[in-house]
Amino acid sequence: MYGRGVDNPWLSLDYLRRSGDEVWEQLVIHTSLTLQAILIAAAIALPLAMVVRRSPRFAGPILGITGVLYTVPSFALFALLAPFTGIGRTTVLIGLVAYALLVLVRNTVVGLQGVDPDIVDAARGLGYSRTRMLLTVELPNALPSIFAGLRIATVSTVALVTVGVVVGYGGLGQLMFRGMQSNYRAQIATSALLCLALALLLDLLLVLIARWATPWARERRRARRSLRGGRAGGAGRSAEAAA
């Protein structure tokens, strides 16, 4: 506990040297909790979105329920769950999954709806069944939108894990909270920066995976870039001609 007038720096290597193990432990918890929540949420959201796509009459109820889950604050959701699922990882995990659901379902539905109708027509003309079309034509074409949803969901989940301190399982949030109680600035600042870094890193990772998973988008980007270059060159030439 630091009192007034005692040196209490925001950043200190000394803190990491002394409490490195603890920081690492919470960072691992934070990361694993985030990844687990996103994987579970994606496993639920993708089928739900496909159901919405195939039978639009489910769109209202599914988007409505996930919307309500999204509006209820995490703090309250943990409080609603805690009496039944106890204090700890399960409660936090359920809350995180509930939050990621809306973003993932909505983005997947938008992605599926945005598939070029000509492509769908071509697949239908080739005699594709509805299921095969969904899995091999529509879903791959919706990937950019799905990855956009995954990025938003992942970054917000990293931030949301910290609210888990309410039920004693908040990953790096645990360190922030304890740092606040003992007025230990280095502990708060370090865990806050690690949270931001983790969000940034996972976001970057998703960008790379998205690039690898949608090679055609890369081709298209390159084509657009060369087109733009060509046009600029053309403008240069005409300027020369005018001169």
Binding site: L80, A82, T162
Partner: protein, 243 residues
């Protein structure tokens, strides 16, 4: 289950609502005190904190968004602001404040909530203003309108649906963030949850969760109606897609 019974008992006891010492009291410095054992007082305190935060955020974000959107510059900056705010855990900001000169309590929570309420208003105001048809703008300039007139009498009315959507998102999100105040010695409905957890009265935790969830859903419902009311009928479908 007895937890549900306890929650029911808590919610149906008149004293839970009006408190043992009335709804309002006086602090040592003579200021108004929201009694922390009264649901009515905590709800009012919750709303006061939320609207103070949104008010501060709107006072800064609306003019900035109007100006940036009118000159159609700074789109990149608004995107970065909203992305960083998504990655920044609210708890991190609250604990950082608590350990700094800003300190604990409601004031720190209002400042933190205002920071998170800022990006949705800014982004939506910017997008609404910058998205106004260039032909419309040119027609207005061609009629001899000044910059200010074009901004306030042509672009602003067309941007109102998106601005309203931004204010709604921001308010709902703030009402959902304020419960965290209980963790840093602030007020609002989160106090019930925090107190229940600390004393292991899970009925009260559940009741607090229900109250916070109900408040958030209620506010969102009200704002959805308000948003619909200020949106001209032909623009309604478009806003739903954008929100």
């Amino acid at each position: 289950m007895s937890t549900i019974g306890d929650a029911w008992t808590y919610l149906t006891t008149p004293e839970s609502w009006v408190g043992a010492n009335g709804v309002f009291g006086t602090n040592f410095d003579g200021s108004l005190r929201f009694q922390q054992d009264s649901i009515i007082a905590l709800t009012l305190e919750h709303l006061y904190m939320s609207f103070a935060a949104v008010g501060i955020a709107a006072a800064l974000a609306l003019p900035l968004g109007l100006w940036l959107g009118h000159v159609r510059r700074g789109g990149g900056v608004t995107t970065v602001v909203s992305n960083v705010s998504r990655a920044m855990p609210t708890l991190a900001l609250l604990t950082l404040f608590a350990a700094s000169a800003i300190g604990f309590g409601n004031r720190a929570v209002i400042i933190a909530a205002a920071i998170f309420a800022f990006p949705p208003i800014l982004t939506n105001t910017f997008t609404g203003m910058a998205g106004v048809d260039a032909d419309v703008r040119e027609a207005a300039f061609g009629q001899g309108m000044t910059r200010l007139q074009v901004a306030l009498r042509v672009e602003l009315p067309l941007a109102v649906p998106l601005i309203a959507a931004g204010l709604r998102t921001s308010t709902t999100q703030t009402v959902a963030t304020v419960p965290l105040a209980a963790l840093v010695a602030g007020g609002g409905l989160g106090v019930i949850i925090n107190f229940g957890l600390a004393t292991q009265r899970y009925g009260e935790v559940l009741a607090g969760g229900i109250l916070v969830a109900a408040l958030c859903l209620g506010i969102d419902w009200l704002l959805a109606r308000a948003q619909r009311a200020v949106t001209p009928a032909p623009l309604r479908r478009a806003t739903v897609a954008a929100a």
